[in-house]
């Protein structure tokens, strides 16, 4: 299942008339609203956070919304089997989010110009594997190993690590990029 969350709309519902995500209290309020929304869902879900109509996102809001939602997906805060994907941000904004995620050893998938990329702290081999997986939509350990001249064991370890970090989905031996998986 895919759930799209229009972050600008969340801001509007909170009474913020302008499209700027600034300050920690605002970030917390937006995250709480999103968590409430996600609390109504269950099962495996790709959660698309759509920032297209947001003008500014500062680092404080990026931490309160994006980083803390990703963090919550590993804990008991969210009952959902959630895979987060962000959309509608420019390169500088994605770069800022990347720097917010890295010190926390967090990562998530971003969609820019129709392509998927990893944002945050990810090892080079995992990034290479994700690049191939995103281009193909799905792969398995053998196919990845052949494409990147790795052993199957190494390919499986890298893919399992990506799946464990909720950056790809693992389903019956196949690994799927979030947007194609749901």
């Amino acid at each position: 299942m895919i759930t799209q969350i229009d972050v600008r709309e969340v801001l509007v519902q909170l009474g913020h008339g302008r499209p700027d995500l600034v300050t920690r209290p605002t970030g917390r309020a937006v995250r709480t609203s999103i968590e409430l929304e996600l609390g109504r869902l269950s099962g495996r879900t790709v959660v698309v956070l759509d920032f297209s109509d947001v003008r500014i996102i500062d680092c404080s809001c990026a931490d309160e919304i994006v980083a803390k939602l990703v963090q919550a997906s590993f804990g008991s805060e969210l009952q959902l089997d959630a895979f987060f994907l962000i959309r509608g941000l420019d390169d500088d904004q994605i770069n800022d989010i990347d720097h917010v995620l890295r010190p926390q050893r967090l990562a998530l998938v971003a969609e820019t110009a129709g392509r998927l990329r990893l944002v945050g702290e990810v090892a080079d081999d995992a990034r290479a594997a994700f690049g191939l997986l995103a281009a193909r939509g799905r792969t398995d350990a053998r196919e990845l190993a052949d494409a990147l001249a790795w052993t199957v064991e190494v390919a499986r370890t890298v893919l399992d690590d990506l799946a464990g970090r909720r950056l790809v989905m693992h389903d019956d031996g196949l690994y799927l990029a979030p947007h194609t998986a749901a």
Binding site: T26, D92, P103
Partner: protein
């Protein structure tokens, strides 16, 4: 006994240390006079730090200092249009003729504006994005992309007050010709007279730095290592975000706190990255300079 703090003829970041030295020397005086009668030019940094000085004097001495309004009518009028006297009247005892100005007379990007809570940060950012984006792009030639990051940097600079100062502060944004650079710049100045970086970080960082601990080390920790007083690893990214933004647009960042001043110096400037043993002045005073027609750094 009275003490006089003379405001320099030109008050900007480089001459503010004269005010800070005057502030430090005036401790114990029965009456303090901040004398701006001969001041002819002031930057947004000067306007906001003068208010911080007034706040610091009031808190230290338990009563407001006297403030002598600039003698030059045009200068005083400019200060009035910038909103300085509106806020100065709350913390100083004003002496001299304060010009009356109509609301909306100012053409600057942002007049002197108080920052006390998160909602104030929203107002400041919205004002800049709604009213000033056009000026930033058309008149100053800033890339439209730079104005988005501008709002982010402005937000983070102001949030330092809300999150860490323990008191209110002020922000102002102007554009003017930067003599050393020979072109127009946009300057964001944010100043408070709160607890400062050293006090904020002391509980978590003093032991790590040992004998080196002080205002300079605290500024290094905050600006260069993104250290925060919170244990949450997601905190402390605001100044890093400002640095990245300024790095993209060849901008300059400087922060004075306590007895030290740290700067991220772009190629067009020759400022000193870290200066210590300055005259003590409470709180934090931040300046961001973005050159007009800035080209994004490769």
């Amino acid at each position: 006994m009275s003490a006089i703090i003379e405001v320099p003829q030109r008050l900007d970041e480089s001459s503010f240390d004269l005010v800070a030295a005057g502030y430090a020397a005036s401790a114990g005086a029965a009456k303090v006079i901040v004398d701006a009668h001969a001041t002819e030019w002031i930057s947004p940094y000067g306007l906001t730090t003068l208010l911080a000085a007034g706040q610091a004097l009031r808190e230290r001495d338990g009563h407001p200092a006297l403030f002598t309004v600039p003698g030059d009518r045009n200068v005083a009028h400019f200060w009035a249009r910038m909103g300085f006297f509106t806020h100065a009247a709350e913390i100083f005892e004003l002496h001299g003729s304060v010009p009356r100005v109509k609301a909306g007379e100012s053409k600057v990007l942002l007049e002197v504006t108080p920052v006390r809570q998160a909602e104030d940060v929203h107002s400041v950012v919205h004002h800049i994005q709604d009213k000033s984006a056009e000026i930033l792009t058309s008149e100053l030639g800033l890339d439209p992309k730079a104005t988005m990051g501008f709002g982010m940097a402005l937000s983070e600079a102001c949030q330092n007050i809300v999150e860490h100062a323990g008191t209110g502060g002020w922000v102002a944004v102007h554009s003017y010709n930067w003599r050393k650079l020979g072109k127009r710049v946009v300057v964001i100045a944010v100043a408070d007279a709160g607890v400062g970086f050293r006090h904020t970080l002391e509980p978590t960082q003093a032991k790590r730095f040992g004998e080196r601990w002080g205002d300079g080390a605290a500024l290094e920790a905050a600006l260069l290592q993104s250290v925060s007083r919170f244990r949450d690893p997601g905190r402390g990214q605001g100044l890093a975000g400002i640095r990245r933004y300024l790095g993209r647009w060849q901008g300059k960042l400087s922060i004075r706190s306590g007895t030290a001043r740290i700067a991220i110096v772009p190629p067009w400037d020759d400022d000193t990255p870290l200066v210590e043993n300055l005259a003590p002045f409470p709180g934090a005073q931040v300046q961001l300079v973005i050159p007009a027609e800035a080209e994004q750094a490769k």
